[in-house]
């Protein structure tokens, strides 16, 4: 792993793989967690898989692992909550620390951070449900549609796997899409729709992070965008690895991805989702601090293209747990 700056894990470790939990991405998390546990076992580590519930702290104290791998997606697992507990218990863990997790989980916070750094992200407005319930924000929807143009993307601020996202073509359909997004989070975002190619940039490492080959996801017809079904149904999406890009474009995509990763203070691993518009300009949509590691996920595909087996990838990420966090 030239340039990665991480070593392999020294010796046999007791790794606690935290998975499941209560988020809507529970099933995805079970899948990721099972694969991570299997990979670590294959490498000879002692693995304790833990389906996260209210007994978590007690079990972690009993298990007393050398290191934790949080294989949870969405609220509770990816938002800094579990990370905080592991900090309190003094258990090193792979992946982003508490504050990076909080920033990345909230797409609105992420976008504000990006804008401050001059990084390109589609224009947007965000609302809490209180704005609608108490301040009559619905009357602003037409103004937003005028400002940002149609179609618009409506998405919950904190939700993964594209859940609750819709692409709205007509202003009169906005309220319904907002209600739908508000079912997933108390805060929602209206974002300028940028039509283009969907790229995923996976990054590994903390001090000297390395960008893995860019993956392009091409959803099959019948999907407006790379939605939940396209993500987790084999055969619903095709992938180009590495994505076929002009070298200058690829370099720019890698550069802004890495800057995003650093700006948010990420550690261990992460995946930046980008739209490349018709003029080959990249726009950053979000960063996932715990990217999916299922059979149909993008990061393992990127690792494979870089010559890293799934086991290599997981071990590399776990090794970063023993380094200081970036934030």
């Amino acid at each position: 792993m030239d340039g990665a700056g991480e070593g392999r894990i020294v010796g046999r470790k007791h790794v606690c793989v935290l998975y499941g939990g209560r988020s809507l991405e529970r099933d995805v998390s079970i899948n990721t967690g099972t694969r991570v546990a299997r990979a670590l076992e294959a490498r000879g580590h002692q693995v304790s898989p833990v389906d996260v519930d209210e007994s978590l702290v007690r079990r972690l104290v009993d298990l007393n692992p050398d290191v934790g791998f949080i294989a949870m997606h969405g609220k509770g697992g990816e938002d800094g909550t579990v990370q905080e507990l592991l900090e309190i218990l003094g258990i090193p863990y792979a992946g982003a620390g508490v504050s990076a997790s909080i920033r990345a989980m909230d797409k609105v916070l992420t976008k504000h951070t990006l804008l401050r750094r001059g990084l390109p992200t589609p224009r947007f407005h965000a609302f809490s449900d209180a704005a609608f319930r108490e301040l009559g924000a619905k009357d602003a929807l037409d103004i937003i549609a005028d400002q940002l143009g149609l179609p618009l993307v409506v998405k919950p601020a904190a939700q993964g796997s594209a859940l609750g996202i819709s692409v709205v073509g007509e202003a009169r359909d906005l309220p319904r899409a907002m209600v739908s997004a508000l079912s997933f989070d108390r805060k929602v975002m209206l974002e300028e729709f940028i039509s283009g190619r969907e790229l995923a940039v996976s990054i590994v490492g903390t001090q000297d992070p390395r960008v893995l080959p860019i993956v392009e996801a091409v959803p099959k017809s019948g999907h407006d965008f790379y939605d939940f079904e396209s993500r987790y149904t084999p055969g619903e999406t095709e992938f180009n690895v590495p994505a076929s890009l002009e070298s200058a474009v690829a370099e720019e995509v890698e550069r802004i991805s890495l800057e995003t990763y650093r700006a948010l203070g990420c550690s261990g691993f992460g995946r930046v989702d980008i739209i490349l518009d018709a003029a080959d300009r990249p726009w950053i949509l979000e960063l996932n601090t715990i990217p999916g590691l299922t059979e149909t996920s993008l990061m393992p595909a990127a690792a494979e293209a870089a010559g890293l087996s799934f086991e290599d990838l997981v071990e590399t990420v776990v090794a970063t747990a023993f380094e200081p966090k970036a934030e």
């Binding site: 499941g20 209560r22 809507l24 529970r26 099933d27 995805v28 079970i30 519930d53 449900d129 609608f132 319930r133 009559g136 619905k138 859940l163 609750g164 309220p175 319904r176 907002m178 209600v179 739908s180 508000l182 079912s183 997933f184 939940f228 079904e229 987790y232 149904t233 084999p234 055969g235 999406t237 095709e238 992938f239 180009n240 690895v241 590495p242 994505a243 076929s244 059979e295 149909t296 595909a301 293209a305």
Partner: protein
Amino acid sequence: MTKRGFDKYEERYAERTGVMRSSAMRDLMSLTARPEVISLAGGLPATDSFPQDLFDRINAEISKEKRALSLQYGPTEGFDFLKEDIAEVMAAEGTEIDPAHVLVTTGGQQAIDLVTKTFVNPGDVVLAEGPSYAGALTTFSTYQTEVIHLPVDEHGLLLDEMDVILDRLEAEGRWPKFIYVVPNFSNPGGMTLPLDRRERLVETARERDLLIVEDNPYGLLRFEEKPLPTMYSLDTEENVVYLGSFSKIISPGIRSGWLVAPPPIYQKVVFGKQATDLCSSSYNQLFVHGFISSGEWREYVDRLRDIYRSRRDAMLEVLEQEFPAGSTWTKPVGGFFVWATLPGGLDTGDLLVKAVEENVAFVRGDAFYADGQGTSSMRLSFSAVPEEKIQEGIRRLGRVAQDQLDLYRAMGL
């Protein structure tokens, strides 16, 4: 650059697999299965009420006297003694049959599969109530059927509306292969087709040369009044195939159901079953036989009725108090399910996400349509949850629904 999917067999799969999709978001299954969630979603029978001593006696008798038989292949049609038992069970609902016309199946679901396999080519039309049993819809779509839903009211099928659809299909030169109906306390509707509509449906089948597939897994679980005649018993022209099941009166784990078909259809379906699994489990058939021939099944079904009646009462009572004004729901006289519809075009898919946050689950209405209808409805199952939990679950649901309605209003919807 490599172009890749994640499934190397992708190019080889049969076209029919194209309709088999991940439904992770649809039912949030693993999330709703968590112990802290009050699940009004699954239509699970209360198997914990099956008497242990009876269970032991049946097993002991099989072990002592029928061990070899229970471990052996059986006839494709099912054991004759079980076919006699099935005739006895159907007689309890007032339907007389010839046991020779009974085919024992591996659950009622297999009966649906066999009938569909026997009749449907890709692109054929099948008629079903809207809403209809989701498991049947899955089977229909696997056989690449076009499902046309027939409108219902709180009593089930609307026959005038059905006639209009049949006329239209006839004008288009299309002929439905069959009409699939669950006449008693339907899943998910909880509706029961009144006698006059049954008679008229059978009459329509005669006039229009239509085949009725009558699925009656819940019929014996009637909480009040006398059973209505089955369409099979009303029919004199061999226009009805009847599907039955032991899943709700013994156990779904025993995977035992049956179908009763007129002789020409019967032969075709038997061939279909041969190709599917040769015969249903001999052991399970012997278990069912032990249960029915003991005579204790009548008492057990009475007990189940008491359990489910009390749970239904609990659900209906609290729905009245807790659901937002403008909501409607069915009042089933048997079975497992209440079908509720919320006002204001409220989307129950969104509502489910919020409900799960409050640790209560249901099945969203569009799961029971092949064409995306039902988005404001939900199926609430009272079969597997004790009364106080049902009431707590409905209270939470009512709260979440009201909150969602308030948000709709704030949005000008």
